[in-house]
Amino acid sequence: MAIKDKYQDYKNWNEKRIANSRYKSLQKEAYKADKSRLKHERAYHDSQSDGYHGGEEPSVSPHLLLFFAAIAIHIFLDVYLFNLRRDGGSIPLMLGAYIVLTLFAVLFVYKSGLSSETWTIAGISLAAFLLPFINKFVNANWVTAVLILVPVWGIYLMFNPGDSTFLAGFGKWYLIIVLILGVYALLTSSIVNSQMGALPASAPADVSSAVDVIKHFFIDNTKNLGTSILGLPGKIGSKINQTFSMSYFTGQVEQNEAEPLGVYLEDLRAAEPVFYENNTIIILANLRGKSFEGVINVNNYCFINSGNKRIANGKVIPFNPELFYDESRPIECVIEDNLKKGSYTVTLLSTFDFPTWGYVEYTFVDRETRLAYYSQGKDINYELSIPRKAITTYTNGPVSIGSNIRDLPIVMYPDSYQNFGVTVANIWPQGHMDTLKTLEVHVPEGIMLENCLPKTGTTSPGDNGYTIYTFKLETPKDTFSTELCEMKFVNSDNFLNGNLKVTKTFAIKADYRYSLEKTINIRVMDI
């Protein structure tokens, strides 16, 4: 095509585009003019019919009316009457309510006819209807609380307030406040959790519980946070005291291929969404335990506290189940104390005796071997297949065991000793150690522990030439306990027995009674 023709085509296209744009803007202006004219005509008509003079605007914007209608449906119908449920009779009623709302919006507020705006309105109503179904998949009170505070129609209207200045202003502030409160709730919960323990466990979607969650987040958490902040100096002080007066040794947990070891309370749930006065309260849960060493005897308790005050005791069935190897048992907490109307926190407590084991491997070489490899410019760790560091590996469970992290190999110097320390610490935030019954250190043949602090241990023979040192330490409640000894060779000349290197495993066993707690919120209503 010749350049001239191309230019002509472009010119025609561009002119057409400009003309279209001008036409559209003229149409918009005409529409606005029509709207304004209609408004004034209506005002005039109204003033003629009811004696109202002045031609003022209607006192209530249609958008505001729609907002109130949507909020009314959300709060009174969906939240209060049906508890945001979507089952049984609630489905047709809620569907019907949102259809009516949609028709009202389309016909009287937006007057959008069959335009794309109608589809938007229908989509909003559909989203408002479908969103509570999320409770079937995510069973958490905080989700329900969010659904209450952030209604779909309300949010849409706040962002699109139409001609309602009140809605525009209110919407902006409402969203800002909700956002701030949400962040505050998250922050206080995480801080409180690290200080105080577990969050209320998840329960079936329940509006009243969700309201309690909001109260818990913003009021109780603030109180608890205040308490924990005030208590922090004391806790830090005691931890510093303990650290300065006692070493702290660490380890790494053994990664289990299957379920981890220990006892777990799972799937805590109320038997009914709400309870009534003078009725028995039943809480269900699954107790799961795994141990390679035999049966775990668990004692179960349940009770209701109000702050620090015990207001009801329940009984758990079975009270004292035995969990063998890798077993899960359902348990039931029954509270028969008559509770008045209100919101309560039920605590399930399981106490059990459990051992945690720690293992650390030390490789020993004599000084001359170390020097010989060094003088050859060779890496003794590579040449003799020795790991770089000795790190204690402890088995899964509520307690950790740590020992000195050493560089390997350990060079044997005559007439000298090495420090050998063991630290036992609680690592589950949802429980605590009631008693540390014993701490056993299995020491291999040829090595002995002396001058142990803070407690001297008793010795007994073990298998394969091992010696078992048993210590009775103070129970570490929120901190840790450490035992520190001097590790010496019985006969350093014969220890290596003609070998270049010797690898010895130390085994550490902490035997303790542990209490595991989990809580759930319930609501008691009057009959």
């Binding site: 390679f292 004692n299 005796d353 060779k378 291999p444 298998d463 394969n464 027995n497 003609g498 010797v502």
Partner: protein, 404 residues
Amino acid sequence: MNKNIFLILLALFVLTACGPAPSPYSQNYHTGTKGIELQFVGDSPPSEIYEGAFFPLAVLVTNEGATTLDGEVYKGEISYSFDSFYLTPNSPDVKREKTKIVLFGKSVRYPTGDFSLTSLPSFTVNSILGQRENPHTELFVSACYPYKTLFSDEVCIDTTSWTEDIRQTVCTAYPEVYDSQGGPVAVTEVRPEMHHVGQVVRPAFYITIENKGSGSVLAPVDKIENACEIQQDSETKKNWNRVRLSASLSNDPLNCVPEEIILHDQKGFTRCYLDEGGYGGSLNYLSTLVVDLDYVYMTSISKDISIVRSIIPGYGLSSDNKCEPWETEFNDKCIDNCDLCNQNSEYGFCGSVFKDGEYGCNCKEDECLSIIEGKKTNDVTYLNKNCIFGISLCSEGNFCCRKQ
């Protein structure tokens, strides 16, 4: 035309590729940097084994160097170490058991060296103590052996710098680099120096040796028969990483300084020279330099063994517990939880009620019920503080209460 050229080139290629078959008598067996090599055989030990099982331990020992270990003068030893926490050897008194190595070096009879399958004691895997799910342990096997490296090559006795003979010479003395001589320690460089002493030339050679094997050089010994036993001595260990060297030129022994070379960064140097006499004459000529390296060497291998639990635990308690379910061990005694809470109400199951007074397992069921009945029930804090009813703090039939 192109096709013809291609065919000619192909024929030339095939013809040059053919050559006389190497005679075994002309083959040089003093090559390679390996000595005694070790290798675990198949699944002994296995990579994964169940607790309580046993496994044999077999090692393939090969002599890929040129020195023969005859088992009388030159004898090697295999030793092993293990962690007694996981493994127990099945043979009695295996703490210091050593296995001898008797293998021929590379020669006409053994062109690629000699090998043997050495069985070491079998092991039983101990039951896993504690709660560990899948521990790992290592088996370490090492071989100690005295060895020699024999180096021999023609060197040039270069007199031209002295005679200033301008005729074409047979050879010129210059540094030579070498690769290996059939042992882990090798002569890698020889740098000749020709020194004029009167009318003769006294050659000197700057010799570089290197540990090219994968193992470590130990201490040289005077008594070869006890080469490996002596290595465990702490004084001997101070002399590790040394190689003894002796050299001769045309059967004339050379004086080497140092005779015992210490390796630094796997390398060592010495200077060997003719102490007296010399070589005169007006022409260069080739002479044979022979260098003997004597050393004790160690090589090792290891294998990681994964131990799998196989024994399902018994019905015994996982934790030692001498007490009944309503009791807790406290100061080596079993006491009722009610009394325990009285003394120390910090236990989780105690609750705040114990802060108020003296509790004990003093009430029977009917007493507790009567106490409860007297309490008002229109108060949300319903629980009667005088009787803890509903949780097991005392033995069956008794209840934890405070009698007024």
